[in-house]
């Protein structure tokens, strides 16, 4: 399967974040470690979305690719921000679970918003400097978020996908 395996991306991030035996770690390695950590979580979520919407047995089909490619970074980020704030736009309040989104989904949402910002800075901001400590803790947080994603109860995961597909960004509906 050509789909990116999130665990492979995390392993790649681990290699890149490990300081070399001699000399200082390279910014290119540390920044790519941050980026790979973000993409591990991104692809874990998007693969799940496509598996559920198009079907896990359809992974080699154009329909699967269509669903996969329809999930944007921005949309995921907006949904995660709403989950972190525990506050959906009024129109979608009826879909807010009683008692909140639960600790696993909340942890994923926090991680996603944080990692996306870090990824953006790591990839595009020439003044952004990543330390080895930060790369390690970012990876650890990403790995933890990945485990939380796997632990999100099925009903909550379905709700997440529903909101991802149909939640209009604030001010655009």
């Amino acid at each position: 399967m050509p789909i990116l395996n999130p665990e492979h991306l995390l392993a790649q991030a681990d290699q890149l974040a490990t300081p070399p035996a001699i000399g200082a770690p390279r910014q290119a390695d540390l920044k790519r470690a941050v980026s790979a950590t973000y993409y591990a979580l991104f692809h874990a979520i998007v693969t799940d979305v496509a598996d559920q919407v198009a079907g896990i047995g359809q992974r080699a089909t154009p329909q699967y690719a269509l669903v996969y490619r329809s999930v944007t970074h921005r949309r995921l980020s907006e949904l995660c921000e709403n989950i972190v704030k525990q506050k959906l736009p009024d129109k979608y309040k009826p879909f807010q679970p009683q008692g909140g989104f639960g600790p696993d989904l909340l942890a994923v949402a926090k991680a996603f918003t944080d990692l996306q910002e870090k990824r953006h800075s790591a990839d595009y901001d020439p003044l952004y400097r990543v330390t080895a400590s930060d790369a390690k803790l970012t990876l650890q947080a990403g790995r933890t978020a990945f485990n939380h994603w796997r632990n999100v109860p099925r009903a909550r995961r379905r709700l997440f996908i529903l909101l991802l597909a149909f939640l209009s960004p604030v001010g655009r509906n």
């Binding site: 972190v84 909340l106 926090k110 991680a111 996306q116 953006h120």
Partner: protein, 179 residues
């Protein structure tokens, strides 16, 4: 309880909500307050500098602590406003430290610094650096750092920042060799 207000000079001293509400004893310690720093009672908003101009363009110049009437205060603390000797930028860092220290472990955090920034969508936020003790890395788990992220996001949102902050970590050694 006490409220921490960042204050401009000029005719409009404050905007929006206080940076933080916290127990008076924490405010005294964090913002180096003394009873002699009392500047006015609760009915009179403290004002600084020329009052005929809006000087908010120059940023916050003072930190004022509002102590409430209902606080069970030591006798030498009156309700009203106290001016902290701590400059606003330093006060902001101390609030971040106060927010993140209990989550990350006080012994793991040497200090917290910030620079104002914008996030990837152009919204105002901050890049926050937690300076770690040399052996702190192995004591901070993924769940702890995710809790710190959530706490920071909530605190900055409460302080009026709309964007998503970046929370970074570094040791003193890493900061010293950053060039």
């Amino acid at each position: 309880m006490a409220d921490i207000w960042p204050v401009y000079e000029g005719r409009e001293p404050t905007r929006g909500e206080p940076w933080l509400s916290l127990p008076l004893e924490d405010a005294i310690a964090l913002f180096e307050l003394k009873p002699l720093q009392f500047i006015s009672d609760s009915s009179r908003t403290p004002r600084f500098g020329p009052q005929d101009r809006d000087l908010s363009l120059f940023g916050y110049k003072h930190v004022v602590v509002e102590v409430y009437e209902d606080e069970s205060r030591p006798t030498d603390w009156k309700a009203g406003f106290y001016r902290s000797p701590v400059p606003p930028k330093d006060a902001f860092n101390r609030i971040l430290r106060y927010t993140l220290g209990p989550i990350l472990g006080e012994a793991n955090v040497l200090r917290v610094e910030h620079v104002p920034s914008t996030d990837s969508r152009g919204r105002i936020t901050a890049k926050v650096t937690v300076v770690l003790a040399p052996d702190a890395l192995q004591r901070i788990t993924g769940d702890i750092s995710l809790s710190a992220v959530g706490r920071l996001q909530n605190q900055l949102a409460a302080m009026g920042a709309e964007g998503t902050p970046i929370l970074q970590y570094a040791t003193e050694d890493e900061l010293a060799h950053s060039d």
